[in-house]
Symmetry: C2
Subunit: 350 residues, 2 copies
């Protein structure tokens, strides 16, 4: 057994999560292009492809390179990249290994991308803001951005959005409704500009079940492979589906509380307003991590008796994408055996 703290993947649950979402997408007649930023692990991307995914979504060119060079032949950088010569050269090189597409969210960004990539096979999708208010143009301006791309020789595949405002209590269905309305308007805007939106792409793990197949053609959820405490607390995934846990050791009973050796350097420091703490303990559903520092989680056990010093306790991180990005290896468990999987794209922020 590895020394604690380490991240363990329940392979049976992982396979079930992958199958469940693949079947959902298939049943709805939607293509599935999972976001692999969550796991950054080639073995897991292969399981997703084997279950029917049409390709993958990534956030950075470094992630695209890792997966394309490990045999994943269809990669969409779902991010409004601002390209320079180096970045454009890396993307162009990648087209030898994979079908490559990128996001653009402004007329200037599209024109810049077209200038650098217009002579290549790299395609573009226009990002729109459906209510998350992060990046993306307004839906009604999507046609203008598409036109700027087309005019510089860049093939436009369609439109995409991320309904990230689904990450709030009670917002799962309403965020999906916002997503559908915005994508419908954006697709119309492209058609008015004379650009056919072949792909209309959305999806987030919390809003997934509410996705509108009359508007969308593609889903890009990421977190669903593992789930995490955020999905649990949002009601988007039940605790018995969560496939990644941090195995931690009890190091102290200071103050009559449970102190574990899993801190923000293995769980991540995410603590959104709707979260009830810094992570959850599946074996102690009433417990809360009330304090988190780099190598300590202080747990209020809600009156339960303290597990002994030196014993092991599982923790589900709040945000699994950031937890996985802290380790070079996750351990896949099946039938009691642990197999190390390299988090190959860890830390590839550019």
């Amino acid at each position: 057994m590895p020394a604690t703290p380490y991240l363990r993947v329940d392979l049976a649950r992982l396979r079930r999560n992958i199958a469940r979402v693949a079947e959902f997408a298939d049943g709805a007649g939607l293509a599935l292009r999972p976001h692999v930023k969550t796991h950054k692990t080639v073995e897991i991307a292969r399981l997703q492809l084997a279950a029917g995914a049409v390709g993958i979504s990534v956030a950075t060119i470094g992630e695209a390179e890792t997966f394309a060079r490990n045999g994943i032949g269809d990669v969409f950088v779902a991010y409004p990249l601002w390209l320079d010569d180096t970045a454009a050269g890396r993307l162009t090189d990648l087209t030898g290994d994979a079908a490559v597409a990128i996001g653009v969210d402004s007329v200037e960004g599209a024109a810049n991308a077209g200038r650098l990539l217009g002579a290549t096979t790299v395609e573009a999708l226009v990002e729109i803001d459906c209510g998350h208010h992060r990046s993306g143009v307004l839906p009604r301006d999507a046609g203008k951005v598409a036109l700027a791309a087309v005019r510089t020789g860049l093939q436009v595949r369609g439109v995409f959005t991320f309904p990230g405002h689904s990450y709030a209590a009670g917002a799962l269905a309403s965020a999906a409704a916002d997503e559908a309305a915005a994508l419908r308007e954006a697709a119309a805007s492209l058609r008015e500009a004379g650009v056919e939106p072949h792909v209309v792409s959305g999806g987030s793990t919390p809003s997934l079940a509410h996705s509108d197949p009359s508007v969308l053609t593609e889903l890009r959820p990421g977190v669903y492979v593992f789930g995490d405490a955020q999905q649990w607390e949002l009601g988007a995934m039940p605790p018995d589906s969560l496939a990644l846990t941090c195995s931690a050791s009890v190091v102290s009973h200071a103050g009559g509380r449970l102190v574990l050796d899993a801190g923000s350097k293995v769980l991540g420091a995410d603590r959104p307003a709707y979260a009830s703490g810094f992570g959850r303990l599946p074996e102690h559903p009433d417990a809360r991590i009330v304090m988190l520092s780099e190598h300590h989680a202080v747990v209020d056990l809600a009156g339960a008796s303290l597990p002994p010093l030196g014993s092991r306790v599982d923790v589900v991180p709040n945000h699994v994408c950031n937890a996985v990005n802290l380790v070079d290896t996750v351990y896949a468990e099946e039938s009691g055996e642990l197999r190390p999987w390299s988090v190959t794209a860890r830390g590839l922020n550019s």
Copy 2:
């Protein structure tokens, strides 16, 4: 220039921060044993030793191994380790390279450590809680823990604490006062138990200037080498002393706001209650990062005009220890030249 986002160290500021705290400790007659979890970088530990540090503090055995095997001859694992045979073996092996000490914070932990290490040169310090309420025994119980160690053959070096409750608005001086009172009581408790506390160790970057040299013999600050937005906002370090910034690119002007490519996967997701946002922009002191996701920082510029798409903007992370632990390399800048430094102990959580 590396692709953004990357972490850049201002070498002149780093050297000034190292010299300033070394001079402070020297002037107060205190030993300085900086916590290297902040930088995890051998080059920086060497600068600290060259400036007079007596040794280093680390949080994990993996960090201890990295630094001891790179020539740092005096390492204190400032953490209440719960040892098993493997961990004890790793510590024993290390005693060939360095003087090694560990923390204990319970009678059981001390007895367990003594059973496994009593025949080695590894020493112990008793951790006490001075008001942070994380790990550590009550000061009055320190003697009992020391005695449990001594009885199993473990040499006790003294007592230590971390006044982490200094991380709150207006708490810098009061946390240092709590620290002094608790360490005084703990040292007396050891003496009553017949154990001489040769080392009485404390210190945090925010409370450093208020440390009481009539009680303490040693200081263990970590963050002071770089500083971060937390230190800036706590009033512990001025913005012109901050030595680590994330170089980010402007990727979007969506919604009329500044969107940068630096997210929680390079800045960390830390956002304590007293912080005004998810990081700060030194060139725009009134700006705030109002939203942070894995690869986006959305900035409210407080009315300033938007830097152009594709331009570079510096960001100071909230918590520099977690930011550095996300990258394999930091870039040390001097006279306009960038030198890559390996974050050798990155990710070593055990």
